[in-house]
């Protein structure tokens, strides 16, 4: 199982130093500690794509109080670890969701609510919505239900926390590894009208934008 501890350059140099000084185990311990801390401070950007947006205020306010588990809402995707997509996604929304997801800093996770991102839900025969969200961005936890109650949403948080704590491979690593698969799918439904990715060299766009 691959580690969820990110920052490969820093990681390997630190590992070398620790091995030199005869503390090879310290690296593993540190990794565990980082994962533990990371699982208890999940910053959320809630992208209300569908009807599930209405389930998020009770989840985060005093009735269910997700903050007691370290799950806190933030203002922008650049500060967030987790994006919640709460319902069906139109092509138009998908374009913005991909943009938002690519703005988030690694490590980043995705939770979706409801049946629609899994297999279209009740909008399966709409000309304007997608069916399988995990063709376009990787999804870590699907919270099912139509709509899921705040208890279920919190269960989804707990499941995600367990995975982070165990250092399991997350969706953003899959996205980096299979970028071509995701980009091809995105191009197929969005017709190539997607913004250049954040790996683009904006000052050399005419040369293909490869940094």
């Amino acid at each position: 199982m691959e580690s969820g501890f990110h920052g490969s350059d820093l990681d390997s140099s630190l590992k070398c130093k620790l091995e030199e000084s005869g503390m090879a185990n310290t690296h593993a311990i540190m990794e565990k500690a980082v994962n533990w801390f990371r699982s208890r401070s999940i910053f959320v950007v809630a992208y209300g794509t569908g009807c599930g947006a209405i389930e998020m205020p009770p989840t985060f306010t005093s009735r269910y109080d997700a903050e007691r588990m370290g799950v806190v809402g933030v203002a922008t995707p650049r500060q967030a670890d987790l994006i919640i997509l709460s319902g069906y996604l139109a092509y138009k929304t998908l374009r913005r969701v991909i943009r938002t997801y690519e703005q988030m800093q690694r490590p980043k996770y995705v939770i979706t609510l409801g049946s629609c991102p899994i297999n279209g839900g009740m909008y399966w025969d709409s000309y304007n919505t997608i069916k399988k969200l995990d063709d376009y961005i990787p999804v870590d936890v699907y919270v099912t239900g139509c709509m899921p109650r705040p208890e279920s949403v919190i269960e989804g948080f707990v499941l995600l926390q367990e995975r982070i704590k165990n250092g399991e491979k997350a969706g953003w690593q899959k996205y980096d590894e299979n970028l071509k698969f995701y980009k091809d799918n995105q191009k197929r439904v969005l017709g190539g009208h997607i913004d250049p990715s954040y790996e683009t060299d904006w000052y050399n766009l005419e040369n293909g934008g490869v940094a």
Partner: protein, 203 residues
């Protein structure tokens, strides 16, 4: 309403009463602009509720309906006209009612009706739509959906409920039968042993 019908008679138009609050006038396309102008300026229909489009595929027509209201809001007048479906073109009404601009943009996107005098005929709800306008009746939604978004493959452990329930019932029945048989055998064995135990007890 009687005064409106008398006014319309001068324009040789007939006012059809649908109910107490709903009336209909059918006009020709070439008269549409002037009649709507007189509805606004002379008859006092200051509000354009909506512009609706109906796809009459069999007749090869689009039926366009302008819903108008006066300041009193006590009734609605529908001004109806028909245009050719293949080469659908309408004059823009944004100079009479500003809200027509966005309604016409929607109609352009959903039905492919062209408005040559429209100031901003850009995307409305859909983005970069390259296919047939989706509200046209000859647009095959199901085929489009299946080609764009196929269903997820069924899960490997997705079981047929009827078959599974039947199997489960049969298993239950067999288990019950087996238990009965075992109980009977046990009883028979006990009966065989009983004379000995009784004999032992007697001793």
């Amino acid at each position: 309403m009687i005064d409106l019908s008398s006014k319309l008679e001068k324009l040789s138009l007939e006012l059809v009463e649908k109910n107490a609050h709903l009336y209909k006038v059918t006009v020709k396309l070439e008269n549409l602009e002037s009649i709507l102008l007189s509805f606004l300026n002379e008859f006092g229909y200051i509000t354009l509720d909506s512009i609706n489009c109906r796809d009459d595929l069999e007749e090869g027509l689009f039926t366009i309906t302008y819903c108008l209201q006066t300041e009193k809001r006590d009734h609605v007048v529908m001004v109806q006209t028909s245009i050719d479906r293949e080469n659908a073109t309408l004059p823009s009404m944004h100079t009479l009612w500003p809200q027509a601009e966005i309604m016409e943009r929607e109609m352009h996107e959903m039905f492919g009706v062209d408005f040559p005098t429209h100031p901003s005929l850009i995307d409305f709800a859909l983005e970069y739509w390259e296919h047939m306008p989706p509200m046209r009746r000859d647009f095959d939604t199901l085929e489009f959906v299946n080609s764009m978004n196929p269903f997820r493959d069924q899960r490997g452990d997705n079981l047929d409920v009827k078959v599974e329930m039947k199997k489960r019932r049969e298993e239950k029945k067999a288990a019950k039968l087996k238990a009965e048989q075992e109980a009977a055998a046990k009883l028979a064995a006990q009966e065989q042993q009983n004379p000995d135990s009784e004999a032992q007890n007697n001793e």
